[in-house]
């Protein structure tokens, strides 16, 4: 379709009149952002129609959900909820990042540490850690510590394993190169292995943050009704469905925006071979 249009442009001869579909196609090819707009519009209209039918009494329209969201932003409940939710999330991720990267790097560098710890983290990553979240309330009650621990439980294994794999799979050719120039073991680690592993380690951090979001929501829904989890539970209990949906959608959007931002950062600064100048 587009190739025939281009041919017409080049030769200056328009044999067949350009129809609407072709025009749209060209516009979409020229501006990829239009696809995102169309994609969003499609889902939101489907949501609106499903809410208007309604497919369930517990299914508000898109517009009602947006209105509820705006209301909660304006009266400050949203900000307060996120203030409570982001604390354990940031704290948990920071702790997981520091310990996870250190443990992962040590496992990648030392065969003894690998033997001792890799199986544990392999089990923890493949296993449904969510089952253990209720346990933390026994020890730490329902405060910030419990929520932070829930985040760590879900985020730490994936960060550890990614750092470990990144270090283990550091480019052997670069390591041989460093040896051939008589680099010491320390130089090899600092100047070759860590920089070579950092993109994968960062990607692991990103996955850890995604897991952390799941963990904090689980903790708030399951053990400590505070923050965004409380917004969801409360509005559900009073059948305020538009508000409940707005809270759920907001946490999904926040997590998506965070992760997309991190991915962009990763491409921009950590992977020079993929960077566009």
């Amino acid at each position: 379709m587009s190739s025939s249009v281009n041919l017409g442009d080049v030769t200056g001869v328009h044999k067949n009149p350009i129809n609407v579909v072709q025009l749209l196609g060209r516009a979409f090819d020229a501006r990829p952002a239009l696809w995102s707009v169309a994609s969003l519009a499609l889902l939101f209209s489907a949501w609106e129609i499903a809410g208007l039918i309604p497919i369930s009494i517990a299914f508000p329209t898109f517009s009602a959900t947006v209105a509820a969201f705006v209301e909660m932003v304006l009266d400050g409940t949203m900000a307060h909820a996120y203030f409570l939710t982001l604390q354990p999330l940031i704290l948990g991720i920071a702790i997981s990042a520091v310990f996870g990267i250190v443990i992962g790097v040590v496992m990648g560098l030392s065969q003894k540490a690998e033997w001792l710890m890799a199986p544990v983290f392999i089990v923890l990553q493949a296993a449904p850690m969510a089952a253990l979240v209720p346990l933390v309330t026994f020890v730490y009650g329902i405060g910030l510590t419990a929520k932070t621990l829930a985040v760590i439980m879900l985020a730490l294994p994936v960060i550890v394993l990614n750092s470990y794999k990144a270090v283990r799979h550091a480019n052997p050719s670069l390591i041989a190169m460093c040896c051939s120039f008589q680099g010491t073991r320390l130089q090899q680690i600092v100047k070759i292995i860590i920089p070579d592993a950092s993109p994968v380690m960062f990607a692991g951090l990103r996955l850890g943050i995604a897991a952390g979001f799941i963990g904090v929501m689980l903790a708030e829904l399951l053990i400590t009704p505070t923050g965004v989890g409380d917004l969801i539970t409360y509005h559900r209990s009073v059948a305020n469905y538009a508000h409940m949906y707005a809270a759920v959608a907001s946490i999904i959007v926040v997590s998506t925006v965070t992760l997309a931002g991190l991915q962009r950062f990763e491409l921009r600064f950590l992977r020079p071979e993929k960077r566009k100048r």
Partner: protein
Amino acid sequence: MPQAVRSHVHIDAAATSDDPVVEVRGVSKTYADVEALRNIDLDFARGKLTTLLGPSGCGKTTLLKIIAGLIPASSGEVRVNGRVVTGPGPERAFVFQDFALMPWATVMRNVAFGLELRGVSPAERRRVAMQYIEKVGLAGFEDKYPHELSGGMRQRVGIARAFAVNADVLLLDEPFSAVDEQNRRKFQEDLLRLIEIEKKTFIFVTHSIEEAVYVSDRIVLLSPRPGRVSQVIDPDIDRSASPDDIRRAPAYLDTVEEIWDGLRQYAD
């Protein structure tokens, strides 16, 4: 093996020279149960370019890495300037087949990496690196990253890095195998010019007969499985001639033909 032995061909000889910089004595290498090299005896003359040539699987890269100290020999020893090799040393520098450039570092930092590891001051290593970046023809590219360069340019970075540490012996592991044909020819010519200026010893691994004959003072033919020295050839070629004349010279063509006769039996 050809029976008509010409004056410059030694067979199964531990080729000796007056001033060997690298001496390989009875080196064997066995991986698990595969015998890669058997009892290699070789001398590499100072200031000359010696090529290890052979079909794939003859252990030529293994031998080069043993000389580099990157992998240990199963038996036998390698001496460089009279000292037994136990690992990599400052008198040897290696050029890698896959370039082994750090993707996160600029051309400048890559070339200066050997000096950086030795703790040379930033200003000094910048000066030395710049000098070799210019010599390999990459002036103006010092702030580029490897992914912004073509394959041939990347290997020039690898060669500049090896030159920058001022080693006596340069070990080149199929340096042009990932470079396309046109660039490879240009590269070979540039290499010959660099060799003339730098006066270093080169040990060069390749599987290209033409490349070996074109650049080498001496060619060591290895036979495969296990790798042994099957023939040593000193091409009798006038290097002062122009590249085109060399490639048309009867001596060049005859040597290529002769080596091909020796290797033909190993082709699959």
